[in-house]
C-alpha cells in the first residue's frame, strides 16, 4: 500500500509472521464491514460527518470507523465505566447525535452533515471547550466520542502503516532495540519526501484543521 512517510510499508505484509489468533482478530478489521446494527439511517448521516471531522478521515482510503463503533455499541462493549453525569454509552451516543443535528439547525438552518467544514469545525470546537452542551457535560461527552473514535481508527492496520508501527510481533519479537534502529522489514521514515522540521509540519496541520489550507 505504502504511505507518505513510510513508502512501501504495509504492516499487513507481516501478517504471515503473526500468531493465528492475532492474525484472525486484526485481519477481521480489514475486510468489508458487516451490516450496521446500532445506528439508524439518520444517525449514520450525523455520525459519519462527526467522525470524518474528529479524525480528519481520508477520502481515498477510508477506515470503517463508523462500522467499528456500531459493532461496539450493538454489543454493549463499554470500557467498563461511565461518568455519573452522562447516560450509558449507547444512550449518550444517540442523544448527542440528535443534539448535533438540532444545534446545526438552530445555528445555520441546516443538518449537521450539510454544514460546511468551517461551520462544523466551529460547532465542534465550541462543544470541546464548553462546560455544558445540550444539557450534557461537554468534556465528558467529548471524551466519550474521542475514546470510541480513536480506539476504532487506531485499531486498523492502515492507521498503523501510516505511523510506521511494527504491529503485532509474536512470535518473532523485536531484535533491534535502540535509537534509529530498525528490524530489516521496518521502513525508515522518508525525510526526503517531507523535509520540513516538526514545528512546520504541526503548523501546516493546524492550517488544515482550521480550514485555512486544503
Amino acid at each position: 500500500m505504502g504511505t507518505e512517510h513510510f513508502p512501501g510499508y504495509d504492516v499487513v505484509d507481516r501478517a504471515g509472521t503473526w500468531d493465528p489468533v492475532t492474525r484472525h482478530v486484526v485481519l477481521g478489521r480489514v475486510g468489508p464491514p458487516g451490516p450496521l446494527r446500532f445506528f439508524t439511517d439518520d444517525e449514520v448521516r450525523v455520525a459519519g460527518a462527526l467522525l470524518h471531522a474528529l479524525l480528519a478521515l481520508d477520502e481515498g482510503r477510508p477506515v470503517p470507523v463508523l462500522e467499528l463503533i456500531d459493532t461496539r455499541l450493538a454489543d454493549d462493549e463499554t470500557d467498563g465505566w461511565r461518568h455519573d453525569d452522562l447516560p450509558h454509552d449507547a444512550d449518550a451516543w444517540r442523544r448527542s447525535l440528535q443534539l448535533l443535528d438540532d444545534d446545526a439547525r438552530d445555528r445555520w438552518q441546516r443538518r449537521f452533515d450539510e454544514l460546511t467544514d468551517r461551520q462544523r469545525h466551529e460547532l465542534l470546537e465550541d462543544i470541546r471547550t464548553a462546560d455544558r452542551w445540550g444539557g450534557l457535560p461537554a468534556a465528558h461527552l467529548w471524551n466519550l466520542w474521542m475514546r470510541y473514535a480513536c480506539a476504532a481508527f487506531y485499531s486498523h492496520p492502515d492507521a498503523w502503516s501510516e505511523m510506521g508501527f511494527g504491529g503485532p510481533a509474536y512470535p518473532v519479537g523485536y531484535a533491534n532495540l535502540g535509537l534509529d534502529r530498525r528490524e530489516h522489514w521496518e521502513v525508515t521514515e522518508q525525510d526526503a519526501i517531507d523535509p520540513e522540521p516538526w514545528a512546520h509540519r504541526v503548523e501546516r496541520a493546524w492550517k488544515r484543521h482550521r480550514g485555512d489550507e486544503p
Partner: protein, 545 residues
C-alpha cells in the same frame, strides 16, 4: 531460604514445547463440591488471591480460589493487539464521579485468573520503609500496623519467584534483584540520557520479566505488548507464577464464578460464599473466607453482603468499607525527538527513578513521586494527543509522528482521603447485582505533587533533547478501600489481614493498603498475601494434611 524451585515449582510446571499452558494440570485439577466445607474459599485469583492459594495449598489446605473471569490460555485467548485485548479488563459496568473522576477498566482492573497481573506493565518496586509511617514522619496519610521489616522477607521471596530483573536498587532499603537488568530500547536510552544530563540517578528495572530462562519460561522477546497479556510467558502473572504450583498441590481454581455475597451464620462467622456460575446461583461452604477482589470489587462485595448483623454491609460497623480508596497521580509526558525512538519495541517498563520518592522539605508538598518510562501503543498514544485538546488534522499529524516520541510516566503518592470511596450505585450488572460507584477528588497536596512530577518529566525530556512535548493527566493503580489498621475504628482488617468484625474473614488484596507510596503496588500486594498465608498456616495447624 529453600531454593525457589523447592518453594514454588510453577515455572517448571509450565510446558517447554513453545506452548504456554499445562493443560494436563488443569484437566486433572482437584474439584470440590459446593457442599464440601473447604478450608478456605478465596474470592478473586489475582495478585493477592493467587499467591494465597499457592501458599495454603502447599501447607496442605483444601483451597478453592474463584474468579469472575476465565482461566486464561495465553495461546488461545490473548492477542498482540490493543483493541482485541478488551476482554482482559473488568468491563462490567461501574460508575465514576467526584471532582476528578477516575476511568476504570483497561488501565487498572483485571478479570480472569491472574487478575491485574495479566495486564500490568510488570514494574515491581518495593515500598520504601517510610511508606509504613507517613503519619508519624510526615504528618500525612496513615501509619501501617506493620513495618517494612515485617514485610521484607516476603518481598525477597516473591522477587525470586517472579523473578524480578533490574540493577542494584539504591533507594528505600537498598537491595539487589535475582535477574540482571534487561537491555534498554531507544525509549529507555533517552530517559537515561535525560537523567544523566540533569544529575538524576536512574536505574534499569525493576521488572518482573525473565531475563534469561527461568524454569520453562523463556526469555522476553521485546514485542512490547506487556499490557495486553504476555503470550511469551516471560512477564510474571500469578497465572504462571503461582497458580500452577497451587494446582499441583491440590487447589481448585474455579473460573467464571462471580461471587455476589459472603454468607454469615448466626454466630457471626462466615460460612462461605454465594456465587453465580453459568447463570446458576451456587453456594460454596468454607471454614475461612478470603476476599481478594481488589479496591473496587472487594468493597462492592462487602457492601452487597448485608445481613441483620451487618445491615450496612459486612465489616462496615465503622463506616470504613469502601473509604480511603487511592489512585496515584500518573500524568505522562511524551517528548518528540529527531531520531526514531519506536517506543513500541521492548517492554514498556524499563527504567525508573525514585530520586523524588521521599518528602523534600524545600517543596510545597509532602511525600513524593517516582518516574518510569512507559511505551504507549497506537490507541493509547492517540489518547495522549487527544488529552492535549487536539482533534482532526492536528491529531492525525501528531499520532502519525509516533516513531519519534518517547513517553515518561510519573507516579505521585496521592493521599488517602475518607471521601474518596466506593459505594453502591443504582445501576446493576448483567447478573442484576448492584455495581460500584467510585467517587474521587484530589486534595491540594495531590495537585502540588502532580505539578512537581510533570515539571520534572518535562525537564528530563528537554535535557534529553526533546523538541516538543505533550502531557496527559491520568491515574494509575487502585488501592485502599478496606484498609488495615491497629484498631477497629482505624481499619477494616488488622495487621494479619483478618477482619475485625468477622473472625474467619480475611481481605488479601490491594484494598488493605493504608497508603500507597509512589511504587507500583503489585509486589507489595503479593508480599502481604504471602505474609497472611504464613499467619494463617501457623494459626490453623489442624488444616495441614
Amino acid at each position: 531460604m529453600k531454593s525457589v524451585r523447592a518453594r514454588n515449582e510453577s515455572a517448571w510446571l509450565l510446558p517447554n514445547d513453545g506452548t504456554r499452558t499445562n493443560h494436563g494440570l488443569r484437566r486433572d485439577m482437584r474439584r470440590f463440591d459446593d457442599d464440601d466445607e473447604v478450608d478456605i474459599v478465596i474470592v478473586g485469583c489475582g495478585a493477592g488471591g493467587g499467591v494465597l492459594a499457592q501458599r495454603l495449598a502447599r501447607a496442605g489446605w483444601r483451597v478453592v480460589a474463584m474468579d469472575a473471569g476465565p482461566f486464561w490460555d495465553p495461546d488461545r485467548d490473548w492477542v498482540s493487539d490493543e483493541r482485541g485485548s478488551h476482554h482482559l479488563y473488568w468491563t462490567e459496568p461501574r460508575v465514576v464521579a467526584g471532582d476528578n473522576p477516575v476511568p476504570l477498566g483497561a488501565n487498572n482492573s483485571g478479570r480472569g485468573v491472574g487478575g491485574g497481573t495479566v495486564h500490568y506493565a510488570g514494574y515491581t518496586p518495593r515500598f520504601h520503609p517510610s511508606d509504613f509511617c507517613t503519619e508519624s514522619v510526615d504528618g500525612v496519610g496513615k501509619d501501617w500496623p506493620i513495618s517494612y521489616e515485617q514485610l521484607k522477607p516476603y518481598y525477597e521471596a516473591i522477587e525470586e519467584e517472579l523473578p524480578v530483573a533490574g540493577q542494584a536498587w539504591p533507594w528505600g532499603d537498598p537491595h539487589r534483584y535475582p535477574h540482571s537488568p534487561h537491555p534498554v530500547s531507544g525509549l529507555g536510552a533517552l530517559f537515561l540520557r535525560g537523567c544523566e544530563r540533569t544529575g538524576i540517578r536512574a536505574r534499569v528495572g525493576p521488572v518482573a520479566i525473565t531475563n534469561g530462562r527461568f524454569g520453562n519460561r523463556p526469555h522476553c522477546i521485546y514485542r512490547g505488548f506487556c499490557l495486553q497479556g504476555c503470550k511469551v510467558n516471560a512477564k510474571a502473572s500469578t497465572l504462571i507464577t503461582h497458580v500452577p504450583d497451587a494446582l499441583a498441590h491440590g487447589a481448585e481454581i474455579r473460573p467464571d464464578s462471580m461471587v455476589q455475597q459472603v454468607e454469615i451464620g448466626p454466630d457471626g462467622r462466615a460460612t462461605g460464599v454465594i456465587y453465580r456460575r453459568d447463570g446458576v446461583e451456587c453456594r460454596q461452604r468454607a471454614r475461612l473466607v478470603a476476599v481478594a477482589g481488589y479496591a473496587i470489587e472487594t468493597p462492592r462485595l462487602l457492601l452487597n453482603s448485608t445481613s441483620s448483623r451487618f445491615p450496612d454491609g459486612l465489616c462496615n460497623d465503622h463506616d470504613l468499607v469502601g473509604r480511603y480508596v487511592m489512585v496515584q497521580g500518573a500524568a505522562q509526558t511524551a517528548g518528540r525527538f529527531e531520531q526514531e525512538v519506536r517506543m513500541y519495541k521492548a517492554p514498556p517498563p524499563e527504567v525508573s527513578t525514585e530520586e523524588f520518592y521521599e518528602t523534600d522539605p524545600r517543596s510545597d508538598h509532602k511525600r513524593g513521586f517516582s518516574i518510569q518510562c512507559v511505551g504507549p501503543l497506537p490507541i493509547t498514544w492517540a489518547e495522549h494527543v487527544v488529552a492535549e485538546g487536539h482533534w482532526g488534522a492536528v491529531l492525525r499529524e501528531y499520532v502519525r509522528d509516533y516513531v519519534h516520541w518517547a513517553t515518561l510516566g510519573v507516579l505521585c503518592e496521592f493521599l488517602p482521603l475518607a471521601a474518596n470511596r466506593v459505594t453502591l450505585a443504582d445501576d446493576t450488572d448483567r447478573l442484576g447485582i448492584p455495581v460500584a460507584r467510585f467517587s474521587y477528588s484530589q486534595c491540594d497536596n495531590d495537585r502540588a505533587l502532580l505539578r512537581a512530577g510533570a515539571a520534572k518529566m518535562a525537564e528530563i525530556l528537554s535535557a534529553a533533547g526533546a523538541q516538543d512535548t505533550v502531557t496527559i493527566e491520568r491515574y494509575a493503580h487502585l488501592v485502599g478501600g478496606c484498609r488495615m489498621g491497629a484498631t477497629p475504628a482505624d481499619g477494616v482488617v488488622d495487621a494479619s489481614l483478618r477482619s475485625f468484625a468477622v473472625p474467619n474473614l480475611y481481605v488479601t488484596d490491594g484494598s488493605v493498603l493504608p497508603t500507597q507510596g509512589s511504587a507500583n503496588p503489585a509486589l507489595t500486594i503479593m508480599a502481604l498475601a504471602a505474609r497472611c498465608a504464613d499467619h494463617l498456616a501457623s494459626a490453623n495447624r489442624g488444616f495441614a494434611r
